[in-house]
């Protein structure tokens, strides 16, 4: 009886929902036209980040420009950093009305959504666009999932560069040859020295987000492929010799007192005086870190910078598979990525209101002569109004067609470009692991890694004791099956390549 009741309720409910859904789909909008008589369509764009006070003002300007140029009006919806994933899950899965959205490897996951069918395959639309030619082909390569493109990449740094970040004060004081230090082991004598000489300085300051240097492409952590391994052998990261010795070294440092005791749970405490810490860098990262910490730092790369799917999918914009205006959406993205005026308007706000153009010093301009992505002017942000409109560069488009700030070198983007060109492709670059056959096993990894990862990486626990425990749990979760599956997939991929 009760069950019947429930069924009847459910049936009635479904019917009601479906009719309502149909009705909603039929609502027609009045067409708006621009001065040349073309229809103007409105596109809804979901972006990550906090809502900006002056967003409407900036969008008015943007719309004025793009409705004339390509017959598009833009509506931007934002969801905060912490909410974006959840919000987009709802927006995408419920089939809400949206046209464009921000996606990447660390929020609103690009690969999953592409696999799921949420994004429009855009290969045919982009072939002849200008942006397809100007954006580094490796970004396009990374944007491919099973040979199909689902998003327009924002051109930025292509690889992440793990670095040791030293406090300049102590480097100068003890004459530390920073440029010669790369591996974890290279640090040892200096950590010892600092421990001895500077009583209130933490020689190696680590926080809970720290992960030991890993020389692998983290495809489905902890099941990964080593950098430079052209045979493409899938390995459990915790079974590699390199990781084992790294963990032993970390433990040694921890016991020697080089590492802060609360490393596994600490969140970055800027007041702690430290000699060295780890950071993931890019060109000019020292400036950002230095500004953040309030004192100068110097950094040295731990290893070469590798290009992986993970790193090259740092920011993309995807189009809804169900959008009614795919051509217009691509046209808009193309314009943003190639039009200097529009790009800077979106990124910095309105000229004269949020920023002003300033001259590039003659000698600097001369020096940058002939380099790519160098503009005739720099810009100065208006101290008063800048906080009313500040968006992250890569949310809306590439970095390289924005102006640089007054205090930045005019060839900043040229340096980025050089950095990208010098980054090495990991052998597994371009390979996507389809985790569907092993999704149950993979779900178990998260817990095991969370439980042991941080304490092992920071040396807080003894690897002799905990590494076997970790292995045991990974095996119980079915890591062998995942390794086998990935090996199978990557062999097929290699074959096809």
């Amino acid at each position: 009886m009760k069950f019947n009741m429930f069924k009847r309720f459910a049936a009635a409910g479904l019917a009601a929902v479906m009719t309502a859904g149909l009705l909603a789909g039929c609502g027609g909008k009045k067409a708006e036209t621009n001065s040349s008589g073309d229809e103007v369509v409105e596109l809804t764009w979901w972006q990550i980040g906090d809502a900006q006070k002056d967003q409407d003002q900036v969008l008015d300007k943007v719309n004025e420009y793009i409705s004339e140029k390509i017959g598009v009006k833009l509506k931007v919806n934002t969801a905060g950093w912490g909410d974006y994933d959840q919000k987009m899950q709802v927006v995408i899965n419920t089939g809400d009305d949206w046209d464009l959205c921000f996606t990447c490897s660390w929020a609103n996951n690009y690969l999953q959504n592409a696999n799921k069918g949420a994004f429009l395959q855009i290969d045919d639309y982009i072939k002849d666009t200008e942006m397809y030619k100007t954006i580094d082909e490796r970004f396009w390569e990374a944007a491919k999932v099973q040979d199909k493109t689902y998003g327009v990449p924002s051109e930025k740094e292509i690889g992440s560069m793990p670095m040791w970040v030293f406090t300049k004060e102590y480097v100068d004081k003890y004459d530390v040859p920073v440029d010669e230090i790369h591996s974890l082991e290279d640090l040892e004598p200096w950590l010892e020295l600092i421990k001895e000489k500077e009583k209130d300085v933490v020689p190696m300051y680590l926080t809970s987000s720290y992960s030991a240097p890993i020389y692998m492409d983290l495809i489905q952590n902890p099941v990964d492929i080593e950098y430079g391994d052209d045979t493409l052998t899938v390995k459990n990261v915790f079974e590699t010799e390199k990781m084992k010795s790294t963990l032993d070294t970390m433990r040694k440092y921890y016991l020697a007192g080089y590492i802060n005791k609360d490393a596994a749970t600490a969140s970055d405490d800027k007041a702690v005086k430290r000699f060295v810490t780890k950071g993931d860098g890019q060109p000019y990262a020292e400036l950002v870190w230095g500004k953040d910490l309030g004192y100068e730092v110097v950094a040295t790369p731990i290893m070469d910078t590798y290009v992986t799917n993970l790193s090259a999918r740092g920011a993309l914009t995807a189009i809804n598979a169900q959008t009614k205006h795919p051509e217009k959406a691509v046209e808009l993205l193309n314009l943003i990525n190639t039009d200097e005026y529009l790009r800077n308007l979106l990124n910095y706000g309105i000229e004269g209101e949020h920023w002003d153009k300033v001259e590039v010093p003659a000698d600097e301009a001369a020096e940058a002569e002939g380099k790519p992505y160098v503009y005739e002017n720099k810009i100065k942000l208006n101290e008063e109004t800048r906080k009313n409109y500040s968006v992250s560069y890569w949310v809306q488009g590439g970095l390289f067609n924005t102006y640089v700030l007054e205090n930045e070198p005019v060839d900043k983007w040229a340096t980025f470009k050089e950095f990208n060109d010098s980054s090495v492709e990991a052998p597994s670059f371009g390979f996507d692991f389809d985790l569907e056959p092993v999704s149950t096993e993979v779900a178990g990894f998260g817990n095991v890694l969370d439980e042991f990862g941080k304490s092992l990486y920071t040396g807080s626990v003894d690897p002799e004791e905990y590494l076997p425990k970790l292995q045991e749990k990974l095996e119980a979760t079915g890591i062998d099956k995942v390794i086998e599956e990935m090996q199978k997939q990557i062999d097929e991929w290699k074959e096809a390549k």
Binding site: M1, K2, F9, A10, G13, L14, A16, V17, M18, G21, G25, D85, Q89, I92, N93, T94, G95, N109, Q112, K116, G117, A118, S208, N260, K261, D262, A264, T265, A321, Q322, L435, E436, S439, T440, E441, V442, A443, G444, F445, G446, N447, V448, D450, E451, F452, G453, K454, S455, S460, V461, E472, K473, A476, T477, G478
Partner: protein, 320 residues
């Protein structure tokens, strides 16, 4: 089931007259029933997602729901795939069992204490003070607790060292955490939970006490023979309802408070934290629906059992 027997008892023609006899009460329950139809029953189709490998192939959620492959119970597998499934279930059930017992004992005792003290002004102050922790989120509480337990500059270790003891590494020692977690959960909830019992005591007919006083009953006797028996219906109903939550855990309490510290997992990993960690990378909505459905189903079965037991013993106070 029940309605069936009724129908058998009475001739069918009675349906209309029964409707008529209950017309006024039916009208009173209608607004609520309509609310439940829209906000609780219509969305129940979402449960279907638990049995689907949800993929987007066309326009509209329903199209996608029906075209997605039905995988039956595959989405539930991850709940049992880890070697820790037993520890996680044990933690969840044991903590919740403690919370259910304390969730009645602590507020009832507090309500009685508050009710008995002579100065009503003070009573208001006590009651308001005990409500304050309710307003602090677990994140904020975790910061305050960290100020005490921080291994390097926390107050506790400072005191321990003052007396010549060895500093304790609080966030790696499992043995303290069951107590910390239970204490903090009671601390945060006691003010809120006391309200129901205080209000119940207020609602008790004063004539009972007058009669008891005339008969020369002591205060303790009044509590034992009047207050507690009259609180029994509320206590019973809250107990039955809390049993339904035995597989659900307060995420913040087990995740934020211990600062997600790995070495503490053997005593802090519960179903909700496990599910969160398992799904944060894959984001498969089928799996998260499956997890919720699993928790609900266990809770539902337990509520039914609890209700059955209560209705056997004391039909008046059962849920239905």
């Amino acid at each position: 089931m029940r309605v069936n027997t009724k129908k058998a008892d009475k001739p069918k023609g009675n349906f209309l007259s029964r409707l008529k006899a209950n017309k006024e009460l039916l009208i009173l329950s209608m607004p609520g029933a309509i609310w439940f139809l829209f906000f609780a029953y219509l969305p129940l189709f979402g449960i279907l997602v638990a049995f689907k490998k949800f993929r987007l192939s066309g326009d509209g959620f329903f199209y996608n729901l029906f075209t997605s492959e039905t995988v039956w119970f595959d989405n539930f597998k991850f709940l049992f795939s880890s070697g820790d499934a037993w520890i996680i279930v044990r933690n969840t059930v044991l903590y919740n069992f403690t919370f259910i017992i304390l969730g009645v004992a602590v507020p009832v005792v507090l309500a009685l204490l508050l009710n008995e003290i002579k100065n009503k002004g003070m009573m208001k102050i006590y009651q308001s003070s005990m409500f304050l922790p309710y307003f602090l989120s677990w994140v904020v509480v975790s910061y305050c607790v960290f100020a005490f337990l921080n291994p390097e500059k926390g107050y506790f270790n400072a005191v321990i060292q003052q007396f010549g003891g060895e500093p304790v590494s609080w966030y790696t020692e499992t043995k303290f955490w069951p107590f910390i977690i239970i204490f903090m959960s009671q601390w945060k909830g006691m003010g809120y939970n006391t309200v129901v019992y205080l209000a119940s005591i207020c609602g008790i007919d004063k004539t009972y006490y007058e009669a008891a006083v005339l008969d020369g009953a002591t205060k303790w006797q009044q509590i034992k023979y009047i207050t507690l028996p009259l609180l029994k219906p509320v206590i019973t109903i809250l107990l039955i309802m809390s049993v339904g939550g035995i597989f659900k855990a307060d995420f913040g309490l087990f995740y934020q408070l211990p600062k997600n510290s790995g070495p503490l997992y053997p005593v802090t990993n519960v179903l909700d934290t496990y599910i969160f960690r398992a799904l944060k990378t894959s984001g498969e909505i089928g799996m998260s629906s499956a997890a919720a459905l699993f928790q609900s189903t266990v809770g539902f079965v337990l509520i039914m059992i609890a209700n059955k037991i209560v209705s056997k013993v004391d039909n008046e106070n059962a849920l239905f």
